[in-house]
Subunit: 462 residues, 2 copies
């Protein structure tokens, strides 16, 4: 039977597939830092060449930022479904570099208590996941010379830096990118070995501000006492973001558009195999620290956050410096749920900060940061049920519809610009340390991920 | 009359004296950063050579850290007083470098609305002030071939990094460093043109800590909500240091040993020419921000502080990174007054921080930071009155005894190790931007400072 041949081919080709992934991982395609623009270009070229090797015509398409990669391939029969597959080839910055046990862009195969892993920046987010789909197509073509679905490949290089070029590109190429459904591989499994389809994603709001105080850095002997210290001011403002009793965000209007999770869905979530203690203990937590009155899953999937991602000011070098700095800096991101409106929230947060300022303190906002609303998938679509069956077959246990704490803005833009529903299937684990030092991807995720896509492509044609 | 000849010589030699100071300012002798150890060595060599040029035998004396410079010269008569002059040749770090209008170690002569200034790191703190004394001695020797006092020169290279080698050096060389009184030139004038003798100094306590949370940096999508964020934790802890109502430090036991200033002394301070609005407005403040119920002068001279000098954690590069960092870092210094005990305070502060920690949060302390108590000068000594007269003659207005917000630990060690009282005379102005970008020293301070020391040396022999 044709699928079995493809699956055997995948098994046999796994070592070569891992070597191909490692090649891609060696390219330091960090998109947030302009210094790596050329590496992003190289990663795009690598993908174009790799698809060409499978006989799939793709090209690198320029944008004002990092290039997109777009490729098309016909199916073996005319009434085959048309899917658009999305993944991103850019990766997060690697700092703090000193915490990596091996160089982030020199991928390693390692044996761990949880099995074999591929260690390196981007191994899980998202190069490894992207390649699960490419490898599935490679195997299918190798066995049958064709593919069961009509496929548009769409790879982005700016996902980790807010996708500034994405919407203009989708708008300019709407006709070419039309399909029946988008397949997105950038999510994780609710728990090790539990195949998962993400049914909702949190949105994202980014902002950055600088608190100003004295005109210049001051000597803490001459001005310590009378002098306003922006570091102290910033600490107070950050603290004011939260209700210390309940853990809720204290910004007025923050929860506008946030809905409680229906009891029925909560029951389904709580029974979908999420291992709360594994999730918390694996990173050193003994308990959940979010909003009181909500389960850990709700805090992660269904509640909004206001998170401080960076804080800096004054002297941080060796020794000490008796300074009252002129400025203090803060980077924040919010995770949004339900109908929270990023634009309204940005105004509310800025109003909150400005209301906290002491006399002689000021605030300067960074003005080119974007936001995206939360998204909910249409799980009534037949493709969802087909994929759930295929995943259940591969992993030997019932696949589940889950929430997601992360944000994948492209899903919202596929809907708003292309009118395209998305199906989110990914094989990452919570301990993959994505965005952290020592990011890894389980070989099991990679291998079964490739097999899963082969099964899904097959199932979509039934 | 001999003093007048010396003063004329000083006036005539001013351009050459400025050129000598600029040579010294070109040496980047930053002591807090090991990368500049060699530059500190060069600065010490330069001083030895310069003293030799006046006919004063001095040598560079090694320490485990930066070298000391020690020199001795006899007086023109046997019953002359013996003074030890102290200054430091090391300077503060220069960051933030981008705020400097000219390179910190390429000193410039500039005309400003307040007159001519020498711009560059160390011009005021303390190379310029140190050289006022050396130049006074040079002129005296040039005119008379001798000096009116027996003088021990003692220059340190670690003042800006907590003087780790100072006490062992004083102990090991106590006999050689004995004198009648120490003259220290590292202070400022209470207001432009008002000659000042500092009668009390605040002490100093330094500490540094790291707040720990998750085992690794986390993705703010996967863990935002349930995840404890060390940046948020640190902000709350810093905020808890202060009573937001009164501006007092809220650490238990912090004010133990702090005494109110006697009404009589307060009256004298308030009448000593301190220009409050110049002091505040020159750095961008419209008001004092310290403890309620205390004047700006009291907040600066007579009240203790707990100041945050550096705060950092998470991502501070270009763009954004959706991270919950594993750690957050904080550098603090306290200014101490009265009988506050730095060792007891360190314990109290650490206890306070530890009491604030949430579950799953930890704290790591830096353990090699020092402290020093506040000091009060003995203004009953005859040398004080002699100097006050000399300063009044030079500046054309009554010299005053003031407090000081800064800390000069050497003064306490001169007393405790050598049994030596100190007299603190300095010519810096509050707008010198010491420890800040664009540090400067007024040419008036330098010129009249040299003349002042000539007068003081003369007066001490009466």
């Amino acid at each position: 039977m044709s699928l079995d041949d493809v699956l055997s081919r995948i098994d046999a080709d796994l070592p070569a597939a891992i070597e191909r992934l490692m090649e891609l991982l060696r390219i330091p395609s960090i998109s947030t830092d302009p210094a790596y623009a050329e590496a992003c270009d190289q990663a795009a070229d690598w993908l174009v060449a790799d698809l060409a090797g499978i006989g799939i015509a793709a090209e690198k398409r320029p944008t004002p930022g990092r290039p997109m990669v777009v490729g098309h391939v016909e199916a073996d029969h005319d009434d085959a479904p048309h899917v658009l597959f999305y993944g991103h080839y850019d990766v997060q910055p690697v700092d703090p570099l000193n915490l990596w046990t091996s160089p982030p862009f020199e991928p390693q195969l390692e044996d761990t208590p949880n099995g074999r892993v591929i260690r390196g920046r981007g191994s899980s987010d998202d190069k490894g996941q992207l390649m699960t789909f490419v490898e599935a197509c490679r195997a299918w073509k190798a066995v049958h010379g064709t593919l069961p679905c009509r496929i548009t490949f769409f790879f982005e290089g700016e996902e980790e830096s807010g996708s500034p070029s994405l919407v203009p590109f989708l708008q300019a190429n709407a006709e070419e990118l039309k399909a029946d459904i988008a397949l997105v591989c950038d999510t994780s499994m609710v728990s090790r070995g539990v195949p998962s389809i993400a049914a909702q994603l949190r949105g994202m709001l980014k902002d950055e501000f600088t608190i100003t105080g004295p005109r210049i850095d001051l000597h803490s002997g001459h001005y310590g006492g009378p002098g306003l210290n922006p570091l102290r001011e910033l600490s107070r403002i950050v603290t004011s973001f939260y209700d210390q009793e309940t853990g809720r965000v204290a910004v007025e209007g923050f929860y506008e558009g946030v809905h409680e999770v229906p009891a029925e869905q909560l029951r389904q979530w709580e029974s979908c195999g999420f291992d709360e203690s594994e999730y918390l203990n694996s990173v050193g937590y003994s308990q959940a620290h979010g909003e009181q009155g909500y389960s850990t899953l709700e805090q992660q999937w269904a509640r909004p956050t206001l998170e401080v991602n960076g804080l800096w000011g004054g002297y941080n070098g060796a020794g000490s410096k008796t300074v009252i700095p002129a400025q203090a800096h803060c980077k924040i991101t919010c995770r949004l749920v339900g109908d929270q409106d990023p634009d309204k929230l940005r105004v509310a947060i800025r109003k909150h900060v400005e209301a906290q300022l002491s006399p002689d303190a000021g605030v300067i906002w960074d003005n080119d940061l974007e936001g995206s609303k939360a998204s909910v998938m249409n799980i009534a679509r037949p493709e969802m049920e087909a994929a759930r069956g295929a995943l259940s077959d591969e992993w030997g246990r019932e696949a589940v519809f889950t929430g997601m704490g992360g944000s994948i803005p492209v899903v919202g833009f596929f809907k708003s610009v292309l009118g395209l529903d998305s199906m989110l299937v990914g094989y990452a684990n919570d301990d993959d340390a994505i965005h952290s030092p020592n990011e890894k991807y389980d070989v099991e995720s990679f291998h079964k991920g490739i097999r899963s896509w082969a099964r899904i492509l097959d199932a979509l044609t039934r």
